[in-house]
C-alpha cells in the first residue's frame, strides 16, 4: 500500500477481510509467506508496528468497566504522538460524556469512543474493520467524516473493510476485492470503474462487485 491513500477492502462474509486485517496487526502468524508493515514483522516487533497504527475493531471490545475519560487516559499512555487537544476535540465532536461508563454507552457511542482512541495519536496507518456495520447513518457520517478529515488534514493511510459498497465508493481511492482469501481485483477506484464501463455507462461498485465476486461466490455455494 502506498502512503497517503484510502484503501477499501471489500468481500462477502467469510472472504478473509478480517483475517487480512489480523495479519496486519500481528494477531495471526502467517503459515506461509510473510507480512510486513512499515517494513517490520508485526508478530516479532509488535511495539514498533502497533504504536503507529490506529485500529477500530469490528467487535468493539473496549473494556466496559472503564469510564470514557479513563479510556482516553489509559490509551494515551501507549502512544508518544498522542494529541490531548485533538482527543478533546474529537470527544466533544462525538458528544461523549467523559464520566460515562463504556458499559452504559450505546453501540454508536462505543464506536465513536473506539474511533477517538484510534485517531487521537494521529496514526500513520488507520485500520477500520467494518467500522459502520450495524450503526445508524449519523454515526456512519461521523466515522466517515472523521476518516475524510484525517485524510484531508494529514494525508495518512487508511485501510477499511466494509460491506457497504456505497460507503467505500464515497471514500476510497483504491479498492481491493477479496474472495475466499484471494484478491480478485485490486486497483484505483477510477481505474476499476473505467475498466468496467459498459456501453459508455460507468457501473456502480455494487454492480462490479456482483460481477466479479458474485459468480465465484455462487460457484462456491454450489460446491
Amino acid at each position: 500500500m502506498l502512503r497517503g491513500g484510502v484503501y477499501g477492502l471489500v468481500g462477502a462474509n467469510g472472504a478473509g477481510k478480517t483475517t487480512l486485517i489480523k495479519h496486519i496487526l500481528g494477531l495471526l502468524r502467517a503459515e506461509s509467506g510473510s507480512v510486513r508493515v512499515f517494513g517490520l514483522d508485526p508478530v516479532t516487533d509488535p511495539v514498533a508496528v502497533l504504536s503507529r497504527i490506529g485500529y477500530l475493531s469490528e467487535e468493539n471490545d473496549l473494556p466496559d468497566w472503564m469510564h470514557v475519560d479513563e479510556l482516553i487516559r489509559y490509551s494515551s499512555a501507549f502512544y508518544p504522538a498522542w494529541d490531548d487537544a485533538y482527543a478533546d476535540d474529537l470527544r466533544q465532536a462525538f458528544a461523549l460524556d467523559p464520566t460515562a461508563k463504556i458499559r452504559n454507552l450505546s453501540k454508536g457511542q462505543k464506536a465513536r469512543a473506539g474511533l477517538l482512541i484510534a485517531l487521537a495519536h494521529r496514526p500513520e496507518l488507520l485500520v477500520l474493520d467494518e467500522p459502520s456495520s450495524g450503526l445508524d447513518p449519523i454515526v456512519r457520517r461521523d466515522i466517515l467524516g472523521a476518516v475524510m478529515r484525517t485524510i484531508a488534514d494529514e494525508g495518512r493511510t487508511v485501510l477499511f473493510s466494509s460491506h457497504l459498497l456505497g460507503e467505500v465508493e464515497q471514500v476510497a481511492d483504491h479498492v481491493t476485492m477479496i474472495n475466499h482469501g484471494k484478491i480478485v481485483l485490486s486497483a484505483p477506484l477510477d481505474a476499476i470503474r473505467e475498466s468496467h464501463r459498459v456501453d459508455g455507462r460507468i457501473p456502480s461498485l455494487d454492480e462490479i462487485f456482483v460481477a466479479r465476486v458474485g459468480t465465484s461466490a455462487a460457484e462456491a455455494a454450489e460446491v
Binding site: L25, L27, V43, P46, V47, L50, W65, R73, Y74, F78
Partner: protein, 544 residues
Amino acid sequence: MRSHAAAVAWEFRQRHRLGLIAVALYLLVLATIKLLVVTGWAPVHLDSPESFAFVVMVPLTTTFTYFLAVFSFGLDGDLAARQSMYPARRFTQPVTTAGLAWWPMLYGTVVMIFLWLATRLFALWPSAIEVPIIWPALLAASLLAWTQALTWMPYPLPGLRIIVTVLWLGTIDSIAILALQFKAHEPLMVGILAPQIPLAYVFARFAVGRARRGDVADWRRVFASLTQIKRVLSRRSDHFPSPASAQAWFEWRLHGRSLPVWVAIILPFELILLWAAGDSTSLVFTILIGVLLTPPFMASFAASTVSKSTANPGDAYGVTPFIATRPLTNAELIAAKLKMAIRSTLFAWLLLLLAIPIALELSGTWAVVLDRWRRLSEVVGTPRAVVLLLLILSGCIASTWKQLVQSLYIGLTGRASLIQGSVFLVLGFFFLFGPFAEWIIDGRRLGEVWSALPLIFGILVSLKMIAAVWIIWRLYHGGLLSDRTLVIGAACWSAAVFALYGVLVWLLDTPHIPHYLLMLLAILAIPLARLSAAPLALAWNRHR
C-alpha cells in the same frame, strides 16, 4: 423438546456436560471403592481426618460450589452489577414468571439433595461420625435456593448483591452451626431448614418478576457526589508515566481487587470464631492457621480469572483484540499481571495483619498467643523464633502470590481444552493425594520416603531445570525476552535460591538434614519454569 421444563433441563445438561460427567465419575469411583471395601476385596482405610477430607469433603465442597454457580447462572453474570443475574434472553420466552424462576430452582434442589444422598451412601465415612440423613441435603438445597433468589434479584446499587448474599447465606449457615453446637437432633434441624426452601422459591419468583419488568431502583445518584470526589481523589495525574504503568493500572482495576475483597468478606467470619475459642490454645491456633491459609486458598480461586483480558465472565479465554493490539511486548503484558498480583497479595495481607491483632485483642486471646510465643522463644531462642515467624509469614505471602500467577502459563494459552484439562488434572491430584498419603502413613513407609527424599528431590529438580532451559531457549530464540531481561531474571532467581538456602541452613542446623537437600528444596521452592513459560503462552495466544 415440547416443554419449557425439558428445554431448561437440556440447556443445563448440554452446557455443563463435562462437569456433570466429572461428578458422575467421582461418585462412581466412590461407590466402587466402597464396594471393594465392603466385600473385603481391598484393604482401604479412609477414616483418618486428612484422607477423609481429601477424598470426600474437598470434592463434595467443590461440587457443591460448582452446582451453586451452575444453577444460579453465576458463571455468566456479573455478581457486582445491579442487574439481575438471571439470563435476560429468557425473559422474552412465552413462559410465566413462576415457570422461569422455579424450573431452574427445582432442578437445583433435586441435584443438591441427590448429591448429598449419593455421597452419604457411597463414601466411606469415619466410624466415629454419625452421619445425618436429611438435614445436610436440606442445608445444601436451601443455600442454593437462596443463592438463586438473591442473585436473580436486581439491586439499586452495584456490589449490594454480594453483601446481601454473603450476609444472608452466612446467617443460614450460622443458624445451622449453632443448632449443631447445641446438639440439635435431626427433626429440629429439618424443622429449621425445610421452610427455607419454599420461602426462597417465593422470593425468587418476586425477584425474577422485578427483573423481567425492568423494575430496578437506581440509588447511584444518591452516591454520585461521593463517586465524583473519589474520582477526583484517585486521579493523581493526567497521564501515566509509561505504557507499563498504564497496563499495570489496567490489570489492577480488572483483577487486582478481587483477592483483597474476598479475603475481607471471609475474614470476619473466621476471626469471630476466636470469641468462641476461649483459652483453648489448640483452638486459637487452629483458627489462626485457618486465617493465615485464607489468602493463598482464595488466591487459587482468584487465579482462574487473572489470565483473562476482560471482566466479562462469559467471554472465552483468548486475548481480546483491544489488549492484543496494545503496543506492548508480551513480556510487558505479563509484567503488568505480575505487578498486579504483588499489589493484590500485599493488600490482602495488609488486611489480615491489621485484623488479626485487633481480633486477638478484642477476643481476649492475646494471652494465649503470647504464652505460646514465650515457650517457643525459650526452646529455640528468640532470634530463631523471630526468623521462623518471619519465614512462615513471608512463605504464606509468597505462596499467595505464587497461587495467583503460577497458572498463568496455562490460562494465557487461551486454549479451552488445555485450561479445562489442567483443572481436571488438579482435581485428580487432590483425589489421589489422600489415599496416597494414607498408604504412606498406614504402611509405615515414612522412613522409606525420607530415605528416598534426595532421589525424589533430585528428579524433580532435574525436571524443573530441563523445562526451564527449554523455555529459556524458546524465549531467547523467539525474541520474546531480551538478553538483559534473561540475565537479570536468572540472577534474581539464583539470588533468591541462595538466600532461602542460607536461611534454611541457619534455621535447620541439624546433622539429620544434609545441606544439599536444603539446596534442592530451595531450588524447588522458588518459581522458575512455569513463570518463565507465561510469555511463551501469551505469544501463542496473541499471535495465533
